[in-house]
């Protein structure tokens, strides 16, 4: 038994190492003064971060990516709220098939989605810009948003909204006062997941952004220049830190919401 336990421990340790070692290398080299990504480490520096901050193209890419991610996550979440509410609250013909088709892009190869979108947009004569990327990202974020929000909505007692309506509120104010606060943890989860998906999405951004850089396409373009790699490491470090902060925030709000309602954790990702 003991030997078997030891074996599993080693396996688990190796597994975690495989998952996280590459990511741990990011901050290691981001603060390393050497220009070549190789051990042994040289001195400590924050110079790469300064260089990153001073880089105008990178700032544009970052701004673009943030605009895209924020817009796409809000759009996907809003549309997701409609779909999740409809699918959990009402029965209508073809509901099963419709929900299936809405969730399909989750498993569709992204390159197919990107290509077909490009063909359609070009065919319609739409100028490629960050707007077209927003459209594409909304499309791929929607299934995730709907999956999360459906869980949140389905754990909600249907009588709650009816009770508020019965007590004199309108349909809309009943939704705003009762349903919205109760599904808020799901909404925050959906926003965060969509934001994260959009922020690091490469293929659609690469196809649909025209000549506008986003963070992933910018990083890809800079990998050709060895000189830039430490700065990219610094950028990667910043992104990892941002992701951790966002996920922690999301989890905090979700747990606070659950504690307030005494409910079981549902609709969250952690």
């Amino acid at each position: 038994m003991r030997g078997q336990g030891r074996g599993l421990q080693v396996y688990a340790a190796l597994y975690l190492l495989f998952l996280y070692a590459p990511i741990i290398l990011l901050p290691l080299f981001a603060f390393n003064s050497g220009t070549i990504i190789a051990f042994p480490l040289q001195g400590f520096t924050t110079g790469w971060f300064a260089q990153m901050w001073a880089n105008a193209t990178l700032r544009t890419a970052l701004t673009n990516s943030l605009i895209i991610a924020v817009s796409a996550s809000i759009l996907a979440t809003c549309l997701g709220i409609f779909a999740a509410r409809a699918s959990t609250r009402f029965e209508f013909p073809g509901k099963g098939g419709m929900m299936g088709f809405i969730l399909l892009p989750m498993v569709l190869p992204e390159i197919i989605v990107a290509m077909s979108l490009l063909v359609v947009l070009l065919g319609m004569g739409v100028q490629l810009s960050i707007l077209t990327v927003i459209v594409g990202h909304t499309l791929i974020c929607m299934p995730y948003a709907i999956a999360i929000l459906t869980t949140a909505f389905s754990s909600l007692d249907k009588s709650l909204e009816e009770a508020a309506y019965d007590l004199g509120e309108t349909r809309w104010s009943a939704f705003r006062l009762i349903t919205l606060p109760l599904v808020m943890p799901g909404i925050i989860s959906s926003l965060l997941i969509s934001f994260t998906i959009s922020l690091d999405e490469f293929i659609i951004a690469f196809f649909l952004a025209g000549n506008q850089p986003t963070l992933p396409t910018y990083i890809f373009s800079q990998l050709r220049f060895p000189k830039q790699i430490p700065m990219i490491m610094a950028l990667g470090t910043a992104l990892v830190a941002l992701s951790i902060v966002l996920l922690a925030l999301g989890e905090y709000f979700r747990r606070r919401g659950n504690a307030r309602m005494g409910g079981n954790p549902t609709g969250g990702f952690l």
Binding site: E162, Y165, R260
Partner: protein, 380 residues
């Protein structure tokens, strides 16, 4: 029968009127022409098995469901175009629908959001409402931390604070355990007397309906089978299906021998020939083999070997089974001659209160059963 509370209610003030109410869900005909008048101040119950349309009817009165045909009037106003949030009704939901993210006081005050009165005045109203349901001082508790019984009380306070003309209760006690349920039944009756508001209760529990209601509408398959007070419903069921649904009733096959001046002469194996006036005659089920005679377990009495009794009729019987409940004993009996008709044994169930000095009789004992034709109901 004595005058009931319902008889004393002012007959001139109908609170809810349903006139030929139909409800279709696609091909499904959920309500099939409901005609019903509920009086002001009445404790009214809609009783029936699941799927009989009782909840649908309640929801059409509340305004959550449109009706396909007919009319619903509340306090003499047609409700066709009035949405649920503008109707003078409030509802206590089966799940209570307590808002989990609000405190008890915020829950109770929810309906006052559009009320122009001041904060202090509203707070006093909330306190009063909580005191009325026995939750004084619970205002600051988180709603999700309450027990089932407490949630139920919050739901009541939240609905009653708006002083509705009608309070609708959708199976409000079904989620509570037996003790709590019996306690809440009594409290609900007292509360209704106190506030004087018309209560309409939906339940599938016949005992609950009998305990609480002034009048009961028994529903099957979207129709009202009988509308009566609890005593009338129990003693004179309008048809065999109602008799089956309310309480326990024994049924014996019967033969109609004749009919004269409204009195039916019938014969049942084991009971002999009886004359039954029209008020003891009800309708059989469409799928019954023929007429049956029914009686309740408590309307017949087991008589000990040397006991005398004052009942007009007596039947000899053998005890097949004895079920002892502490306060009551149930006896399954074979009446002499019950199998004479076609050889089938037809056990009947008799209940006896275990009063002091009366011994429980043993299985296999030969015994006498005393009864009166007045307790029989003929279903034909």
């Amino acid at each position: 029968m004595s005058e009931t509370r319902y008889d004393r209610l002012d007959a001139a003030t109908p609170m809810i009127e349903c006139r030929g109410v139909h409800k279709h869900y696609g091909d499904y005909h959920a309500l099939r022409g409901i005609d019903l008048t509920i009086r002001a101040g009445e404790f009214f119950s809609l009783l029936g098995p699941s799927g009989c349309g009782k909840t649908t009817l309640l929801r059409t009165i509340a305004g959550f469901e449109d009706i396909s045909d007919g009319a619903i009037l509340i306090d003499e106003k047609r409700m066709d175009e009035v949405p649920a949030n503008k109707r003078p009704t409030n509802m206590v939901f089966q799940s209570y629908a307590i808002f989990p993210h609000l405190t008890v006081a915020q829950n109770v005050a929810f309906g006052l959001r559009r009320d122009p009165r001041g904060k202090a005045e509203k707070a006093a109203l909330v306190e009063d409402a909580l005191a009325m349901v026995g939750l004084r001082g619970y205002g600051n508790r988180a709603a999700h931390a309450l027990s089932g019984g407490q949630r139920q009380r919050v739901a009541l306070a939240r609905a009653l604070i708006l002083k509705p003309k009608v309070l609708l209760l959708d199976e409000p006690l079904s989620a509570l355990d037996r003790k709590m349920r019996e306690q809440m039944q009594v409290e609900l009756i007292k509360l209704q007397r106190q506030v004087g508001i018309t209560f309409v209760l939906v339940t599938h529990d016949q005992e609950e309906a009998l305990v609480m209601s002034d009048r009961i509408a028994v529903m099957f398959e979207g129709e009202i089978a009988q509308l009566d007070g609890p005593e009338a419903l129990y003693a004179r069921p309008a048809n065999r299906r109602v008799a089956d649904f309310i309480g326990v009733m024994n049924f014996l096959p019967a033969r109609i021998l004749g009919e004269k001046d409204g009195i039916v002469t019938a014969e049942a194996p084991g009971l002999g020939v009886v004359d039954l006036p029209a008020r003891q005659v009800s309708r059989a089920n469409p799928d019954d083999d023929g007429p049956t005679i029914g009686f309740r377990p408590e309307t017949m009495t087991l008589v000990g070997p040397n006991q005398t009794h004052s009942q007009p009729r007596e039947t000899n019987a053998t005890i097949d089974e004895v079920v002892y409940y502490g306060d009551m004993t149930y006896y399954d009996l074979r009446l002499d001659g019950a199998a004479a008709m076609d050889g089938k044994a037809r056990p009947v169930r008799i209940s006896m209160r275990n009063v002091f000095g009366r011994d429980v009789q043993d299985v296999g004992t030969r015994t006498r059963l005393a009864w009166s034709p007045g307790s029989l109901v003929l279903f034909r």
